[in-house]
Symmetry: C2
Subunit: 347 residues, 2 copies
DNA sequence: CTGAAAGCGCTTACAG
DNA sequence: CTGAAAGCGCTTACAG
């Protein structure tokens, strides 16, 4: 094998045929007489030519055969492999890619122009900062799908009915007789855990992203239907993985009999903190969370969750960009997964 | 914005400059007079030109800015996101990619020629079937690194000193007075769990891949140094995730006081099976496993493991192909992580 | 500072 | 069935 990489023209020359014929041997072998084909193949073998370079082919066909997943801005490539909810999502995306024979590329944003330069056929934008990614994707005429956000009838998107799920969770607790609630909300920015005491106003910023605000709205709707106001519910707002949030919430809502959260880690942390304080779940306190993970089923007691349909969301997202149909906005219904962390209100 | 995607030549025409000048505006803005630059930029804006198409640029530069991860043949794209050991590895690979501003593409093998056609700058080959991937990668003159396998001084590779780790694990148990062992080995093919009773021959096929055979060799070395023979040790060989293997092993090695395994799941399964049978660990039975995961620390008792250096392996693999140095074969030393699953031999 | 020209590796009508 | 030619979108010496 040579040091210099041989090209199609080298093979054609060595075989004594034109470049087109050599190309046909690889792209449309049936168009070439067997004898010539053998000569070209022998020359390729001889020169160490492994077939058409995908780079040249790409320029003609425009098809990369891969889709790009863009993590939120703060997350590096490696972090996508550490977040269990993202992994559920990506596993499902990967299944669809596999079915289409496509690769799945996790994009780096270190150079800040990954959308403009990535060699992929389509994009999946995950949450938060995706709005700024839309323009470069549009300019490249590449299809993309947004997750957990909608951007009008011309864009592809998939999200879960967070509001309905949250409403169902709160209704479930109301039906069990609970009247005194506390809420653990998401903060989607760097910064310390925040307390929003009962009685304060409840602007949208009390929850982080649109999808989080939907959850809060769902909670509020169910409370309102039972004659309760969100304004009277103490809220602690924290990073999804914050370790101090559960303690702060229990400190500032001593009378609560039920905690509504926005994520599965928050729910698990409340369970752990309650155990530490000797608060019995569900006898003294009920807890609900969002997004189901195996950990929620394994915890003691099991955690009642709103099913985030994460895998389904990934499947739909990938199909939306891989199957080339017209833009659609998919909203997945959700439901409650009842486990041991919710029970009748005490007293 | 137009329906047809504008190209550089369209922008050049609209701005009344040559194609080269238009190109320079994007690639080397300092080479172009401010006035012309503004004209070109205005034209680009007007036409909806988002910057040079990466496809054309690729053909010149040859640089994709991404590396490809090739899972074992039986695994689809999505499965890479479900295997906890792979995820540890990929997270570390992703960190290095991020540091280089490169993307990380999980390759599909559905079309069976992913190595020949994938648009990446380099490959990471994971285990098992990687030998068949070497030739197409060589033909494309693309760097690649093999994991857990070596292929001579011209190839990049990274592996862990499995033999040394296994030897240390067995020596640890011998030092605790254990003399009656049982081994849970890896089967790397589809098929039922196999029993290799004591007294039989021990061909290499009693373990699956080269790296598994190294583990077995390490166990054998330590036993031999203590005057014991691997031939006298009952071995059960099973898929890393098989559920029946631990039971079969305990059934057929009733006198064993120590179990040597090849993977963390196997170790956890032995702990679970022992608990079910009322066998106290480590009082009645000691257990060691390979590759450390959070689950090993959380189990009851904690699982003593040989550190598989999985994250480090990923980091090295990525650096080996991304930093463009000469081929190297890296062997990572390993060590024992002592936890509660190993103790003095009973009696 | 600017532009005409060649070329990156390949494919695909088209003419013979 | 085969080959000469044009072109996919861009960049980069090179000449002016």
């Amino acid at each position: 094998m040579n040091i210099l990489k041989p090209t199609l023209i080298d093979v054609a020359r060595a075989a004594g045929v034109s470049r087109s014929t050599a190309s046909n041997v690889f792209a449309h072998p049936e168009r070439v007489r067997a004898e010539l084909r053998a000569r070209v193949e022998a020359a390729a073998q001889e020169l160490g030519y492994g077939g058409p370079d995908p780079t040249g082919r790409l320029l003609r066909s425009g098809k990369v055969n891969a889709i790009g997943f863009k993590p939120p801005a703060e997350m590096g490539v490696g972090d996508s492999f550490r977040n269990p909810v993202f992994l559920q999502f990506l596993a499902a995306v990967g299944d669809v890619c596999e079915a289409h024979g496509a690769g799945l590329m996790v994009l780096s944003d270190a150079k800040r122009d990954s959308i403009r330069t990535a060699l992929v056929d389509a994009f999946i934008f995950s949450r938060v900062d995706q709005l700024s990614d839309v323009e470069p994707a549009l300019l490249r005429r590449l299809p993309f799908v947004m997750v957990d956000v909608e951007a009008g009838p011309d864009s592809r998107s998939v999200r879960v009915d967070s509001r309905g799920g949250a409403r169902a969770a709160a209704e479930h607790l109301l039906g069990l007789g609970h009247r005194r609630f506390a809420i653990l909300s998401f903060l989607r920015a760097f910064g310390p855990t925040r307390l929003h005491p009962a009685g304060g106003p409840r602007p949208p910023e009390v929850a982080g992203m649109p999808t989080d605000q939907e959850k809060l709205a769902g909670y509020a709707e169910a409370l309102a239907a039972a004659g309760l106001s969100l304004d009277a519910v103490p809220i602690v707002q924290a990073d999804p993985w914050a370790e101090d949030a559960a303690g702060m919430l229990l400190d500032h809502a001593p009378g609560a009999t039920a905690v509504l959260t926005m994520g599965v880690m928050q729910g698990l942390r409340v369970l752990a903190e309650a155990r530490r304080r000797g608060i019995a779940v569900p006898r003294d306190l009920s807890v609900v969370a969002f997004n189901d993970l195996p950990e929620a089923a394994r915890s003691e007691p099991g955690l009642t969750t709103v099913d985030g349909r994460t895998g389904e969301k990934g499947r739909v997202a990938a199909e939306l960009v891989l199957e080339g149909g017209p833009p659609r906005q998919v909203v997945l219904p959700t439901g409650l997964i009842l486990r041991g962390s919710t029970g009748p209100a005490p007293g």
